[in-house]
Symmetry: C2
Subunit: 467 residues, 2 copies
């Protein structure tokens, strides 16, 4: 928090030249932050001072500052001036697949997987639901909740919704609300450790964040190969010491395969015969485009499958709302594990989501988004067929991303080329388990991520960088 | 989830008699749940069936069910019928001082400390702020937040507010939003352990929940005596292996003493000379009645004091919003510790609170509540002076509770008498550290807890049970 204003003037040699004073100054400052010449927390001179120093109009400086504040490079606060944003040392975001990274050019477009179209959040409908929910809430709802499972209003409508839309055997009594999927997985990690489980099998492709979380809970995470029928659940019996398996049955992440019916049965059979548990990560089960969604695996055996759903893809990650549907005999253990600061989640969003689902707004939103994503999926598949007809596209039936196979040895260079073009892309190998067999080169293309207005540009940028 | 309907009919001998059929039936059922004859999860017969069995009108049964659902004894869901609410085995709530307990009669009044008047939550103002906040929010706010410190909008207004209202040296860059005070304390526990701190001194009166949380993080919690000037911080030097001290300087919980200026200085001196930290729990610092609030201890040395504030008392616990103001060199470590599922909190309430504070609604609400609580405090003190003139009342200058000293050996019997009268009360000894010297008998009377309409009745009930 030291004022390095003197150092600023002496060291930076800001030379706003070429292509307009304002953009020249903006670029120079952005470059200085990116390269670390201006360190996080550094206070910049006032716009007046810098304008005098550089012999330009004060408004030009103020505009450049404002732009960089809007872009997130600087922060401004009344009374404390303009400072370099504090990015250094802050951990990376926990988005499914989305990662902050240092890039040569600030990405203009993102096709990283893991985010829905945030511009589509139904703000007006959400606020309407909030109004109804908070107006009707009993006073006690504003106090300490005495049920670690979360608000009964939300658990009740979720039970109906999940039964109807996802084929989940659900009862409000066995639903536990949590603050995101990671919270649910954390709780399960604690419960499994207390049950003396030593390992949780994970798919050979998935998020390292999930593996790390389980490892952090003291659990091994042996790898279950994924092929064109999904995870090879028939091999579960051959991995000793494993008490649970984490699966993405509706739409394998990131390869996009739905788990084959035989494999679904094999997972449940293994759980029954071994006393194990299946953790079903149903992160985007609502989005299936060419036929009815595949019902949840949980319906096959509600006493052996823990269902984990989330509002992160269907509505917005920023709500931090997810839910577990538990086997009857796990409810108390999970409540017990949820007994620290995480015992209760905020009540306003819980009650609002309950109202939002109950009034049919959730169904309407999911339906509208399904149409939007299907249209994007179709455009993406068409564009790829024209631009790169020899590359296989898979995982197109559902979800918010596809996998595009690339020629051997080109993955890294394509991602790099994209980065230089201002397009953020994820390579397939980033999601590969360290013990997995080597796999094909590919891209994981998240077509849900752009805003509606940014989608066409993102698709164009993708086509430009393909080999 | 077994259907014990047959057992229900056979075992219960429901005999709705006397004082009206409906209330008789309601009482009989409530009693059956309370005594455990009807176990949690048990499904009750349909109102039609029970009406036939008992030979009474179906509406009578339906009304009794509805009443017990409203009271929380039963739950009802379309399609799954009416069941006994699941209370057994659910951990106790984490309210400051408020505890669920089995009582011979369901409490009609509560004077337990730890809750504000929930009926006063400013719903309309909050909804207005939510509308402005969500309308103005950038799309990115609905995504994964890349800053574990929380939304900058909230940190900015908090910095201004805390400086103005609590004398905190605050900068948005060193504020971290958390999901309640317990979350902040959990994060500090992790950081202190990583710094190889072995113990955190705590006041000889306080919440066992806080001690347990620190113990759970692997820290010892030696006890610092509290007297009429507050915690004896001068004795900190004599407790080896202690790297931090948890204090409630504005209004000691629960004794109500503000920490004496000399003791404040001694705490900071100890932290400076030993390299230790002061954790300042400012849970109700806004509520001081007879003069200006005592400024936060943090202002004395922002690099040695961790300030912890919360919206739980000023607005509502159900929001799950609290904040830490950290020494500069702790920011990165706390962000690092906040890297699991708790990395980000829900954005809607953060943005709404930012708008609520920014628009002045928070100030207005706190002012209105301060008047309300002061009036109650005056009425309580007057009533006690009349009803029990020989008993000392302390901690009346601030906060939402007072301590009433009782004659030696009467504490337990007064609380029991209150319980039988339907009045929930907390005894002072419940908050005493296990290593503390034996202390006086007393009651901790939370006068913030009742609703405005319930306050007079609660006060009457209190006067009736005093010795």
């Amino acid at each position: 928090m030291t004022d390095s204003w003197a150092a600023f003037g002496a060291d930076l040699h800001i030379e706003p030249a070429g292509g307009g004073l304002r953009s020249g100054l903006t670029n120079a400052l952005r470059e200085a932050v990116r390269t670390g010449r201006l360190t996080p927390g550094t206070r910049l001179p006032s716009s007046r001072t810098l304008a005098v120093d550089l012999g330009i109009a004060r408004n030009t400086v103020a505009d450049a500052y404002a732009e960089l504040v809007a872009e997130g490079w600087l922060t401004a606060r009344q009374g404390s001036g303009t400072r370099v944003a504090r990015r250094a040392g802050v951990p990376e975001p926990v988005a499914r697949g989305a990662r902050a990274r240092r890039v040569p050019r600030r990405p203009v477009h993102s096709l990283l997987p893991g985010s829905p179209d945030l511009s589509a959040f139904p703000r007006a409908e959400w606020l309407k639901a909030a109004r109804r929910a908070l107006t009707a809430a009993p006073d006690a709802a504003f106090g300490y909740d005495d049920d670690p499972r979360g608000r009964i209003e939300l658990r009740s409508v979720l039970a109906d919704y999940l039964a109807r839309a996802r084929g989940v055997y659900a009862d409000p009594e066995r639903i536990v609300i949590c603050s995101g999927f990671l919270h649910g997985l954390t709780l399960m990690g604690r419960v499994l450790r207390r049950r003396r489980v030593r390992g949780v099998a994970v798919e050979s492709y998935g998020l390292d964040l999930h593996r790390d979380l389980l490892t952090g809970a003291g659990l091994r995470t042996p790898c279950l190969p994924v092929d064109e029928l999904g995870a090879r659940t028939g091999e579960l019996g051959g991995t000793p010491g494993v008490g649970a398996v984490l699966l993405t049955p509706a739409h394998q992440f990131p390869t996009g395969v739905p788990l084959h019916p035989d494999r679904r049965a094999a997972a449940v059979d293994w759980a029954r015969s071994s006393g194990g548990l299946v953790l079903e990560d149903d992160y985007d089960g609502e989005f299936r485009y060419d036929r009815q969604p595949v019902g949840a695996l949980q319906g096959l055996d509600p006493e052996r499958v823990v269902y984990l759903g989330t509002a992160a893809k269907s509505l917005a990650p920023g709500l931090r709302l997810a839910w577990m549907v538990l086997p009857e005999d796990l409810v108390e253990e999970v409540c017990e594990a949820k007994s620290g600061f995480d015992r209760m989640s905020g009540m306003t969003d819980q009650l609002t989501l309950a109202e939002f689902i109950g009034a049919g707004a959730y169904d309407r939103h999911v339906r509208a988004m399904r149409l939007r994503y299907r249209r994007r999926r179709d455009q993406l598949v068409d564009a790829l067929a024209e631009r790169a007809p020899d590359f296989r596209v898979s995982g197109i039936a559902a979800g918010l991303h596809v996998v595009l196979e690339l020629p051997e040895g080109t993955e890294q260079s394509v991602v790099q080329a994209a980065t230089w073009q201002g397009l953020a892309l994820d390579r397939l190998s980033r999601f590969r388990h360290e013990d997995a067999a080597p796999g094909r080169d590919g891209l994981v293309i998240g077509y849900g991520t752009p805003s509606e207005s940014g989608w066409a540009g993102a698709l164009d940028a993708l086509c430009r960088v393909l080999p």
